[in-house]
Subunit: 377 residues, 4 copies
């Protein structure tokens, strides 16, 4: 974290920040970077001044919950990855209490197994519209419950502060922390994978809509009478682009086995991509169609928000070579050229790891601010 | 069969036909109806003169092959149903020879088990584009093979004449045999069930396109970027209306179990229809969408062919109450009213039984004509 | 007309036909061809035996009525063009009686001005659904009236037999007369120009739907929410492809002047085609879109009717070079390849002349049959 | 302007603001409201403290340029309307210099004719993507030029500061000034009229995309293969909803006369609305379709940005009664209910007057800030 940022957030003058950080360095709360390598396993970005929290201040657990999967990650206060875990577990049919019991149990077990030192906070990312102020999942395509008080429910069970966030927002945050260019102007991160989500940042801060939520751009109904989406609608962007959609359609084309769980795993997706890459004409059409939808989606973002940067990220980028021709053709044909020229488009290949990283970074930042506020008071 | 029809087909004057039938009655080939009830289990229509072939002249087996099912039916020469059988058996992944071996074996076993007396011919209906003159399946969504010489292959194996037909055409033929109104003018029968097919009759005779095939109307791509169809295309009429499509989409909505076979059985379809009927909003939308597609399909038929009659038939009519509101609205909004007024639309609730009945009727008719030609010569 | 045809139509044996034609040659009704050139201005096809009606037997007038145009043509009994005329005259706002008065007046003046010898009949082609048996225009996009008894109305005014026909059917008939290949099997002629129409022939005879009409295929609503069509619907095939549609859209793109009449003339269409051909990107898109719709339309015909031949004809073929790339891509992507392979597709560049030719040929044929029937009696 | 706002913008404490305003009141720069009626012709909102600039401090001219129209408005420093003018003048075909000459001349003449006292600034709103920092029109559907330095060009010609803004943004600003509720949270104003535009406010301030522009949401291509848009694309939101689109389609339906200028005037739109309201079925369909597109547009805004408020405004609201049924149905069917519930939707009937009001308010605010900065320094 750079002093400038601390100052901006706390409304302190640079001079006051300098006093504060000096005092924190004395106390061992902050340390300066000794390695000279800003990327060595650290996920807390590239600060303008190399100043880190000591790794003895405790740790944070980042969690992602999908339809039938949980991803966990343990990070120390210096931002170093300590452990991670992947669990397959159907969650959608659980009631609210049961769901929170399961998640709390999963997190506790993970903390115990990994000997997590002094867990300060938990950050949890999930699909759906998340009230980030009150910690409520207002709506989610992967949870049966509505208006689920997930943060307080987990916090009570775990005895720790819990921060929740939309998963695409968490990934967007992580991506922007890695590249200062993406923290200036407006950056729209389209995350493609289990579903399709949008994390939108204005000058590095996540855009918040009504009720402090993000965006459900993946459920924009791009094509009337399009394919069925798991949200109950038809023709949503993710009904073409998400892994479950590609797998469902591939199944019908060549009668491959159904996935044992509704959301196909990476190992179920790989052969589809490889067969298409090898020239299977009908599977190629799947990616052609998906690429076209991706292009139309980017076009809507450009003409609605005119962001400076569009980032395509998430596991779905694994097939970007197959998506690209129709993506570019659609973007070209559906966008006013003068507007298209104002946005850069980049692809960040990224797994779900980046997502838990993002939510951990957000949790760490909250802790930092709390600490700084405490010290500054 | 009425004398008028015989005359028309053989180019004989009514007088000559009378002579011929008199001689056939003498020989016991033809019998007059004694029951007075023209519909008692007889499938050979309502002749203008009650004149039947004797049931001692042998029998005919009707077969329908779907994606993973075979339906069989044994009918005697008087047109009476003697036996039927339903077999679940995946067929799509079989090679040409293996497929024909399996079908021949299935038919032989059925004939043996049912003690079929003197099988004169086999009629087989299947999905796809069928060269009815040369007995070749040019293309089928449910068979891997192309240009499959199914009639000759089965004929060699069974030692009987084999007639093959597109399944929607077979059902259309059966329906028209039951109602003389549908044998005048132009009648378009839309069969909805495992797939969607069109049987089109002009003055009671099946329309034949290039290479003596019928129509693949169910694969008209009604909606660009629509749902995936099993033919490899997108947005086909059947990708909304066929059982497999409805079941696939219902599965995503409420996570019901996948069918054990790709094409869902009647018992898998029933709960979807019942839940929608009970008011499940998202499932109702499925039928709303399907009904709209059905309306657009009927509208295309009207504005392309201006038939006198449109018949909606097949197992999919089980949900006609759910389809009707959006069907009618779509038909209304997509058709020039003056043209819509020229076609009557009726729904004939019908199971796959009617389909095997149709192909049996066609086979019987061929036998009749052969016999009549023989006698007339 | 070949003897074979006469025989087929009158149900006479070849021998009887020979007797008949010999007698007609004696009487001077028929003449043999002396020029040796079967195409020298004659429109009556290439008979298997060069046998013509004498040009002294009278003449026929062919008429085409569009939205704001009338085309007239005088042909003698030998099939030679004698005169033609083009008149611009708004017709749509006229009531039924007034419309028939105007048309009758126009035809009478034309006959007088051209010194038409002994006019035997008038053939009139128009857009819309035409009851060809009773001579009634059931519906037309270019006439305000419905169920207009046009044939009898004109016949009373002119004192001649009047035959009416849908214009695309008339052109299809003319095209099939020029090429025997198109008279075998099924031929679907898509006429593109003022509107889009379909003339469908089975073994050389025009297909007749309910009430003896043809097809209103041009008003198939191919794209929900597409551009406005003059029929009142949206997204009709002709709302992309017809001259008026292309001109309307070009006007919005580059602010060219509105046509003085609603349907643009050939001279209004030429610069649009030439500018697109010269590389104007937005105008090229117009033809790209139109070509795609044409491809989808051909695909529907293939999968519904599986014709042996698809003919694209009419003034709109002037831009076939611009339409072709997207036409072929759409046809390819929207059609099952095995079915596409069964139909040949050809383009017949053709002006409205071919259309009046077609309706004249139909009128002449009726006269021939009448004459032959008379003689044969 | 309320003291609170001044303080927020200048970074001054309430106490400092009080000092400042007291001093300005002494100098006669500010006056207190004597009428007690906050709405009597004043457009500067309803301040928390009734404090106004004196009307003797000069005036501001607000201008809107459309495709073929210019609207002008003179407002004094107290925010009172002094004069307005409507001019029909084709602008699109003018080159950059000529266009700016014409606009400068038009503004000068207006100022002279109305005896505008001491014009301090000019605010100009236009369609298109406007770089509001550098005063450049990057792209516009109604101007031939690209990257037009309109602000500096006019400023040089007029010798005054010129502020330019996208027209929908200007109207959104005006609407938000009238209602504090719309200045909290996120407010998306969809302006429907000559075109369709979006003004998006976050906490009362206009959202700025890349290059400090707004949004070209009206050109989101909602329907592939939809009607032609004047931007060169197809299926844009405004190609259904804008006045020119409705008029174009109505013309084809009932052959009403073409507008003398491309963009129809209010008096050309009125009969279309009234005829539809009186029950003309085809014209009703136009508004049905437009309403559906409006609903889909609102749905995209909700699922992309989740605003707290959606405001539908502009002259197109004249037909809101006709648009509403399909608008609501589309919004309902295309939006996740839980997300739809988070946004309020309201309709603000508004003419182009509100638009020039908006740009004047922005110009006045800039002047106020300048003045306040000056005083505060």
């Amino acid at each position: 974290m750079a002093r400038v940022e601390i100052g901006q957030h706390l409304g302190m003058s640079p001079a006051s920040v300098s006093d504060l950080t000096a005092s924190l360095l004395d106390e061992g709360v902050l340390v300066t970077d000794e390695t000279g390598d800003p990327t060595s396993g650290l996920i807390r970005g590239r600060p303008k001044v190399r100043l880190f929290f000591a790794d003895t201040l405790g740790s944070v657990i980042g969690v992602w919950t999908g339809f039938n999967r949980v991803e966990l990650r343990l990070v120390d206060s210096a931002g170093r990855n300590r452990a991670s875990r992947h669990i397959e577990r159907p969650l959608r049919n659980l009631g609210a209490e049961e769901l929170m019991d399961v998640l709390a149990g999963t997190i506790t077990t993970f903390a115990q197994d990994t000997g997590a030192p002094n867990v300060k906070a938990v950050g949890l990312a999930c699909q759906g519209y998340v009230d980030t102020r009150d910690g409520i999942v207002a709506w989610s395509p992967v949870l049966g419950a509505r208006d689920l008080p997930l943060a307080s429910g987990l916090s009570q069970r775990l005895g720790k502060p819990v921060l929740i966030e939309n998963d695409a927002s968490a990934m967007a945050f992580a991506i922007a922390q890695r590249d200062p260019v993406l923290r200036s102007g407006r950056t729209a991160c389209l995350m493609v994978g289990d579903g399709v989500g949008l994390g939108f940042l204005i000058e590095g801060e996540l855009y918040r809509g009504a009720r402090f939520g993000g965006s459900e751009f993946g459920h924009v109904r791009l094509r009337r009478s399009g394919p069925q989406c798991r949200c109950g609608g038809r023709g949503c962007i993710e009904a073409y682009l998400a892994d479950y959609a590609l797998h469902r359609d591939a199944q019908l084309i060549d009668h491959r086995p159904a996935p044992t769980v509704l959301i196909p795993s990476e190992s179920a997706m790989t052969p589809i991509v490889e067969q298409a890459r090898a020239g299977d004409a009908t599977l190629m059409k799947l990616f052609h169609e998906a690429g076209e939808v991706l292009g139309d989606a980017a076009s809507i973002l450009i003409q609605t928000l005119e962001p400076d940067h569009i980032v395509i990220c998430g596991p779905g980028t694994r097939a970007m070579d197959l998506l690209r021709p129709s993506f570019e053709a659609a973007l070209e044909s559906q966008t006013i050229p003068e507007l298209k020229a104002l946005a850069t488009i980049r692809v960040v290949e990224s797994s779900m790891d980046l997502l838990t990283e993002g939510v951990v970074m957000q949790a760490l930042r909250e802790l930092d601010f709390d600490l700084a506020r405490l010290k500054a008071a």
